[in-house]
Symmetry: C2
Subunit: 381 residues, 2 copies
């Protein structure tokens, strides 16, 4: 036995975190009931009582996404893991995959699909714009992909991609439709089944008002057919839905990996809040508070980066930084002087926009009022 | 806009979980202080206050693992994600990888390495045994691997692999040494640097007494040289340490994916408990409570599956199921009548052993006394 090295025996003080109002692109503040749920005592991941927790989550997720998909579950990681699960399971080497890139998360889909060996084609729009159905149709006609990936709510730009007609188009071309709903689930109208979406993913720390850690994922029949007909194994063991499904299928519940138990408690509570409020009311609340923000920004002579209000994500507004203002300085002052977190832009929008989130529990009139008043003070308007 | 489908609007009741004593192979019960920490309000993953949380975790993890590795951090998933991170980052297609298989988790390393394109070679031992240094040496001489993967504490069998001399052997053959410490971190003597280990991973829900969700991972200099000298991109985006390192390096902190904030709070608190107790005391406590269990089992005329006590994991004991006893029935009665979770065996040990964990916070004399008394009642001994 060696002697113990005490060099790194660091006696950290008790955890003490600043009380931030998280009005950036996520994480958003967890609802107090969610924080109570996450602190409940653990049970085993194969305990019959946990199986009930899993069932509850699955059913409520179907409601939140408006889908009947039996294969609907949270992935054991944050939103990026759920995104990777979609690509890893639905893409085989050599598959032609078409990605609509309207911002960073489209770029990331391109990067992931390329790592899984896809023949990736892309359609691009300037950051802040969305595709028309004609543009998407032309892309699908040209590339004949096996999978079309679109970002429904592009968190890097604040743009909301209309989905009308895209599902029919994909079905007509025998192409799977995958959408990123990371910032839209629980905040913005989504009708996965009516839209003909075959696969989708999201996260827990935005519209569901949970800590990050377990991330919604769903596959419809056509996506499952692709998964079960693969010629190759999924190149990612942790996220392999062909084996993980045996844990979540409601029958075998056989061990794959240990689920993040307490994060599942949190997601369950976040979904209970969605169910209690009702989707219509929840979507209307997000829209109303977004409108309140947009109106207030106009009064401060600040402009939204996404011109058409119908193409703005109600839960995430990008605001143009006026000439002469340092975007980062404003965000730092909001954080240090008001305990409010907002974010800047990045990539082509670096220094050009702020990103303001009103997500889930945080989409409340008083938060809009506070943020606008703080911005007014800082900017001297 | 479509009309909202209310079919899946399931009003789940308030979360109410049974109060289990988790004495299986994990998860183990979280310490109450950890459950308080996990329920603290969120801050952003780029908040300066969170960077301090990250630094604290990294430093305390170095202590727990006895390593100076700067690259020491928790992966944003459960233990299997940390295992996959090791393989994904250190294996390139065509690499000869040698895995020592003494149970299920060695099998899983074989499976993962094969998915990442390795030329996988294996050494096998019956479940419950460990390799001698001579056997490992012969394997390395024969296969000349670029990476040797060993399971330090094989959770499926209860066997503890001695590590003396393995690091020197690997260095002499220019081979990286990767070890699985999922069940040994925080419970059993580990000296990563003294052992010459190049990469290791663990989990949060066993020796660290946290919920599952963020999983320790470390790379030494030689492993980092392999990572930075790769000819190919890491085939897993979420776990790509070449980009994730820019978030954790203490300097750039650039965004890769949203970290599971509250799970990090939990890991920080679990590590504080390790630091406060001290490794020597913690390891001695686990050994003493294991001995108490082994003595009590002997009194009940029950035998440990791993013969040599020096090769038993103090935190996880496999017990042979006596003839005429249904292993599952006993576990179900413990769960239903005593709220105690233990596990059975699987694979070659299915129906043949029980697996009893005394991990972290749960390694306490009163838990041993209760379990032995309950077993005595159930088995009528």
């Amino acid at each position: 036995m060696f002697s113990i090295n005490e060099t790194h025996r660091f006696f950290a003080p008790q955890l003490d975190v600043p009380l931030r109002l998280l009005l950036g692109p996520g994480p958003s503040n967890a609802h107090p009931r969610v924080l109570q749920a996450i602190a409940m005592p653990q049970i085993g991941h194969l305990d019959p009582a946990f199986i009930q927790v899993m069932n509850d989550i699955q059913e409520m997720l179907r409601y939140a996404w408006q889908t009947d998909n039996p294969f609907t579950l949270p992935v054991s990681g944050t939103g990026s893991a759920a995104m990777e699960a979609a690509i890893a399971n639905l893409v085989e080497p050599g598959d032609v995959v078409l990605i609509g890139v309207i911002g960073y998360f489209g770029e990331r889909l391109v990067e992931m699909a390329s790592r899984y060996g896809a023949d990736v084609r892309r359609m691009d729009k300037p950051w802040g714009e969305v595709f028309t159905l004609d543009e998407i149709s032309a892309g699908v006609e040209t590339h004949r992909p096996t999978l079309l990936g679109l970002v429904h709510a592009e968190t890097s730009t604040g743009a909301l991609q209309p989905m009308d007609g895209v599902g029919d188009l994909c079905r007509a071309h025998d192409c799977l439709l995958l959408i990123d709903t990371v910032t839209s689930l629980g905040t913005t109208p989504i009708f996965l089944d009516e839209w003909g979406v075959d696969a989708a993913y999201s996260c827990s720390q935005k519209g569901l008002s949970c800590p990050p850690g377990a991330s919604p994922f769903t596959l419809g029949e056509r996506a499952l057919a692709k998964l079960h007909g693969r010629r190759t194994k999924v190149a990612n063991w942790y996220l392999d839905m062909s084996i993980l499904s045996q844990y979540w299928d409601g029958k075998t519940r056989s061990y794959h990996h240990t689920a993040p138990i307490n994060s599942m408690y949190a997601v369950r509570e976040g979904l209970r809040l969605v169910v209690e409020e009702g989707l219509a009311e929840r979507w209307a609340r997000h829209q109303a508070n977004a409108q309140r923000l947009w109106d207030g920004l106009t009064e401060l002579d600040l402009a939204c980066h996404v011109n058409d209000p119908a193409h703005r994500i109600p839960a995430l507004t990008t605001v143009r930084v006026p000439a002469g203002i340092d975007a980062r300085d404003t965000a730092v002052r909001l954080l240090n002087d008001y305990n409010i977190e907002i974010a800047g832009g990045f990539g082509p929008l670096a220094g050009k926009v702020w990103r303001i989130g009103l997500m889930g529990h945080n989409s409340r009139p008083e938060n809009v009022t506070l943020l606008l008043a703080a911005l007014k003070e800082i900017l001297g308007r």
